[in-house]
Amino acid sequence: MADASVGVQTIGWARWRKWRQDIGVFVSNRAALVSLAFLVLIILFCYVGPLIYRTNQTTATLLNASLPPSSQFPLGTDPEGFDVLGRLMVGGQSTLEVAFAVAVISTAFGALIGALAGYIGGAVDSFLMRLVDTMLAIPFLFLAVLIAVLLSPTLPIVALAIAAVSWPSTARIVRSEALTIRTRDYVTAATGFGSWHLQLVGRHILPNTIGSIVVNATLKLATAILLFSAVSFLGLGPPPPATSWGAMATVGVQHLYDNNWWLLWPAAAAIGLTVIAVTLVGDGLYDVAARLSRDAK
């Protein structure tokens, strides 16, 4: 290599080409692509929707209680007179925010614990893995409710409680990858150059597990939506007049006998379709990650 800048350019070019290949792998998965488009639409619906379709979502209007769909209320109203379509937008905001927070917190924490356990090994590994076993042994829904109730169930606390029961599986996955990565030559080389342990974990172990971490985070998003719905059903969702998709579906379940289908199905569809879409995007990302790890070998 004669000129250093040429080398840098080639690396940049190679990166760009690889990046395009990765996107190509994702795009070739039609289901994943459609799901991604659907998720973008859902996000626009929840966050841009209320700016266009303005509804009162803070004070109950009992005169309008449980009206069937009409030109004024496209999806009818709920027993407190809230417009269901507008409520889907607000409920979606809290649902997506909690799910996103859970995915980020639990993945970050789980990945860190897993990387440390796998990299350091020995007694630290044993202890951290027993901790993971312990968290997996306590039935997660019971534990999430316990934590939420102990710390008073506000929305951030509920998100934290769900994250607290969601991180162990990530830790397990990242640990098993870290175990193989730490035996690679470049890690030995970095140790030889005098890298600190933390530097090694941050620079080499975690970045090389990024594929499975991202896939795992996506799946966490799906389970977090389901868990948050379950917690909302148990009455620990956002306090009224705020709502979530789970809380809305719960209202529908409470009125099963009234035949008010618009209370149940829109919220149920929102939960179900979003979870399916997130899962399919995760599948698409998995294909990319599988390719990444094949290239690394």
Partner: protein, 313 residues
């Protein structure tokens, strides 16, 4: 085998100790502490002082943990002044019903998941496989309470086959089977996708193995191949998966018992959560955790008995 057994038992005990330690921390982290949690916010100062001494709360924390653990091992899980009953007695009353709900559903899941998974695995990538997978994904993507609600809608409101509530379950034990059907079905639908997906991919993996080619070459029929050869090998990893699925099933009972008013541990937990009766909540979580740990241990032992590679590996 003995060494494996000893190591695995040691791990289980360590996990149980950690569970108890976490619960002990929760017990002391709760607002107002253990005494306020039992007596409520309006207790007099004298009562608080008396119970503080009675519960040994003036001793150092490690000693308290030791005493608490000692009591725990002897079945003393504390007292609920609200129900005027010891927590252990409440657990003994409610636990069998949850065990029936979870146990029957668990068996039903396995009975359904194995043929479904094997069938799908042997017909992988065909239209029918995609259709079944689609249906299972749809089931998997709905929260448990919505699955239950849909079953109620179809089977109790439209068809009026089964009651939509199980609140009277246990009054005349054994005779009231019909109230059990919808809760069990709901719980089964929740874990069916998890299991059958696992068996499906396991069967697909095994169908690509060399021994399958050998069996086919010597003329083993397709059904016999699936049942005698592939199924046996696919079930091995499945056994260890059972331990992972246990918390899924146990957590499902909380939702289902609340939805159907089913008088089990889940409903007891929900009531305790409403009234902030922490000794009951902790007792239930402890009991269920012990159950999950024991289940995991049994699954791993079964795995080791079935597969020599694990025992000596």
């Amino acid at each position: 085998m003995l060494r494996f057994l000893a190591r695995r038992m040691g791990q289980a005990i360590a996990v149980l100790l950690l569970v108890s330690l976490i619960m002990f921390v929760f017990l002391h982290a709760m607002p107002g502490g253990l005494v306020r949690a039992q007596l409520g916010p309006r207790a007099t100062r004298a009562a608080v002082r008396q119970l503080t001494r009675l519960e040994g709360l003036t001793k150092p924390l490690p000693v308290q943990y030791g005493i608490w653990l000692w009591n725990l091992v002897h079945g003393n899980l504390g007292f609920s002044y609200r129900q005027n009953s010891s927590v252990a007695k409440l657990l003994i009353e409610y636990f069998p019903r949850t065990l029936i709900l979870g146990g029957v559903s668990f068996l039903l899941t396995i009975i359904l998941a194995i043929p479904l998974g094997v069938f799908q695995g042997s017909r992988a990538q065909l239209k029918l496989d995609y259709a079944i997978t689609g249906g299972l994904v749809a089931l998997y993507s709905l929260p448990t309470f919505l699955k239950g609600a849909i079953l109620i809608l179809v089977f109790s409101i439209e068809l009026q086959f089964f009651p939509d509530t199980a609140e009277n379950y246990g009054r005349n034990f054994g005779t009231d089977v019909s109230v059990l059907i919808l809760p069990i079905l709901t719980l089964t639908f929740g874990s069916l996708a998890f299991f059958s997906r696992y068996i499906r991919s396991s069967v697909i993996d095994n169908l690509g193995a060399d021994y399958v080619r050998t069996a086919r070459a010597k003329g083993v029929g397709e059904v016999r191949l699936l049942v005698r050869h592939v199924l046996r090998n696919s079930l091995l990893p499945f056994v260890s998966q059972i331990g992972i699925a246990l918390p899924l099933i146990v957590s499902g009972t909380l939702i289902i018992e609340f939805l159907f008013d089913f008088p089990g541990l889940g409903l007891l937990y929900w009531d305790a959560q409403q009234t902030r009766t922490y000794p009951i909540m902790l007792g239930i979580v402890l009991l269920l955790s012990v159950l999950v740990v024991a289940g995991n241990l049994l699954a791993d032992l079964a795995y080791a008995v079935l597969d020599p590679r694990i025992r000596y590996g």
